[in-house]
């Protein structure tokens, strides 16, 4: 019987090596796999490349925990602002940064999952972020060649998971999670709920089980409320 559920964080993190590239899902406070990130910090793999939209926010939650321990060599993201931990490391020259437009980041990750090693995109053409990159004119418009961005590991937060690894996400939590789940050699999921096989209708599966390697049940509740109308 297939059962991708693991009982302990040790099993969830098993085999993550020094030098791994790690895709980390989430956008804002929604869909951040914080429990997995903290387990990765405990696991202690060093020299990591983190691929995520942001560089974290609160110094004691998520990516900053990993960075404070000196485990991150490089971060690839679109918007590394709002993280004092990252700022200090970056200004001190102790962490590398590759800034990637958000849509290019999503598409490079999707390309990795879809077996597309490189593609042309109009985004960033003629800008600083295209420096040193191959460009090509196609039908009169200039495009930049971008390469797939795979992960050795993806850390994903899901709402429901079954024993095969079919996933759903809640609200705007699908974001990078559903894309990154496709793109790693080992996709590890922190799930709010474990449901029976078949409880997720075939039409409702957001990430098919084929993309998932390990699931750990961590019902950690709602993200904090971010900002509401005053």
């Amino acid at each position: 019987m297939i059962n991708k559920q693991v009982a302990s964080m040790q099993e969830a993190m098993a085999g993550i090596a020094d030098g791994s590239s790690v895709l980390v899902g989430g956008f804002g406070a929604v869909g951040q796999p914080n429990i997995l990130i903290e387990a990765l910090a405990e696991h202690g793999a060093r020299d990591l490349t983190i691929i995520a939209n942001n560089a974290g926010f609160d110094p004691d939650i998520g990516l900053p925990v990993l960075m404070k321990r000196g485990l991150v060599r490089k971060i690839v993201c679109s918007f590394p602002r709002g993280s004092s931990v990252f700022d200090e490391l970056y200004q001190a020259g102790r962490i590398e940064l590759e800034v990637v437009p958000q849509g290019t980041l999503a598409e490079r990750i999707r390309a990795a999952g879809a077996g597309i090693p490189a593609f042309f995109t109009p985004t960033s053409a003629g800008t600083q972020l295209a420096r040193g990159k191959e460009t090509r004119e196609i039908d009169g418009r200039t495009y930049v060649l971008e390469h797939a961005l795979p992960g050795d590991v993806a850390l994903v937060e899901a709402w429901n998971a079954d024993r095969w690894g079919n996933l759903t996400y809640r609200g705007s939590g699908r974001n990078f999670n559903a894309v990154m789940a496709m793109a790693a050699k080992c996709t590890i999921v922190q799930a709010q709920h474990i449901v029976e096989l078949g409880a997720i209708e075939p039409d409702d599966v957001m990430t098919p089980s084929i993309f998932v390697d390990r699931v750990i049940h961590r019902p950690c509740g709602d993200p904090p409320i971010a900002a509401i109308a005053s």
Binding site: S78, F79, G171, R174, N175
Partner: protein, 217 residues
């Protein structure tokens, strides 16, 4: 600057831009000033708001009564959904943007050039961590790109210029600019003023602008 100029307030700028958005358009509103447009769409006009983190059909900001902590927009504010909304992942969301499906994006800007170039993500003088978010994708992909900005910086320098001096977000993409002083089209021959606030002369507007203006008859 004379005292008689009726400089638009931010809500007025938002209302002015909102008035020009046709029913049925799919619109992405950039973080900051452009976000205010959402509350200014004329009653009864259906405009469908997109958020790059995977929402089509955003409603107003959530309140303490109706907040869903699992629903945030690109500015990381808790938002509501309207009837007809759809949720999807980031790659699909940027397929909508890059693929030319968004009718309109409204962004803020540091500078807009008369050739339609926009600089809105980093200033070369600035030593902050460079951060681009979705700005380059939106600028390159939206069918129409409008800029909403004060006409000049806080120190009175023009933001509408001949050529951008800050690093570009995208080239040749801005169609229209809504400032606190004027509504300006970006045409093949440069900035064309189509509307000015009361009390402002053409010369005064020109003096606050870093590139030549023409005026629609």
């Amino acid at each position: 600057m004379t005292d008689t100029i009726q400089r638009l307030s931010k809500p007025d700028m938002a209302r002015r831009a909102a008035a020009d958005i046709p029913e049925g358009w799919y619109v992405n509103l950039g973080i900051g000033l452009p976000t205010m447009i959402a509350d200014s769409i004329p009653d009864g006009r259906e405009v469908i708001l997109h958020s790059e983190n995977g929402i089509l059909g955003m409603g107003p900001l959530a309140t303490a009564e109706n907040v869903d902590p699992w629903m945030v927009n690109a500015g990381k504010q808790n938002v509501t959904l309207v009837k007809g909304a759809a949720l999807f992942h980031h790659a699909d969301s940027f397929a909508m943007i890059r693929g030319g499906h968004i009718d309109l994006c409204v962004l803020g800007a540091f500078e807009v050039a008369e050739n339609g170039d926009i600089a809105n993500w980093t200033t070369s003088q600035n030593d902050r961590v460079p951060a681009v978010g979705g700005a380059m994708d939106l600028a390159a992909g939206a069918r129409n790109l409008w800029v909403m900005t004060t006409h000049t910086t806080k120190t009175g320098e023009p933001k509408l210029v001949e050529r951008c001096t800050y690093p570009l977000t995208s080239s040749g993409v801005v169609n229209r600019i809504y400032t606190d002083l004027a509504v300006i089209e970006v045409t093949a021959s440069g900035f064309e003023v189509i509307e000015m606030v009361d009390g402002l002369s053409r010369d005064e507007l020109q003096s606050k602008t870093g590139a030549g203006l023409t005026f629609r008859a």
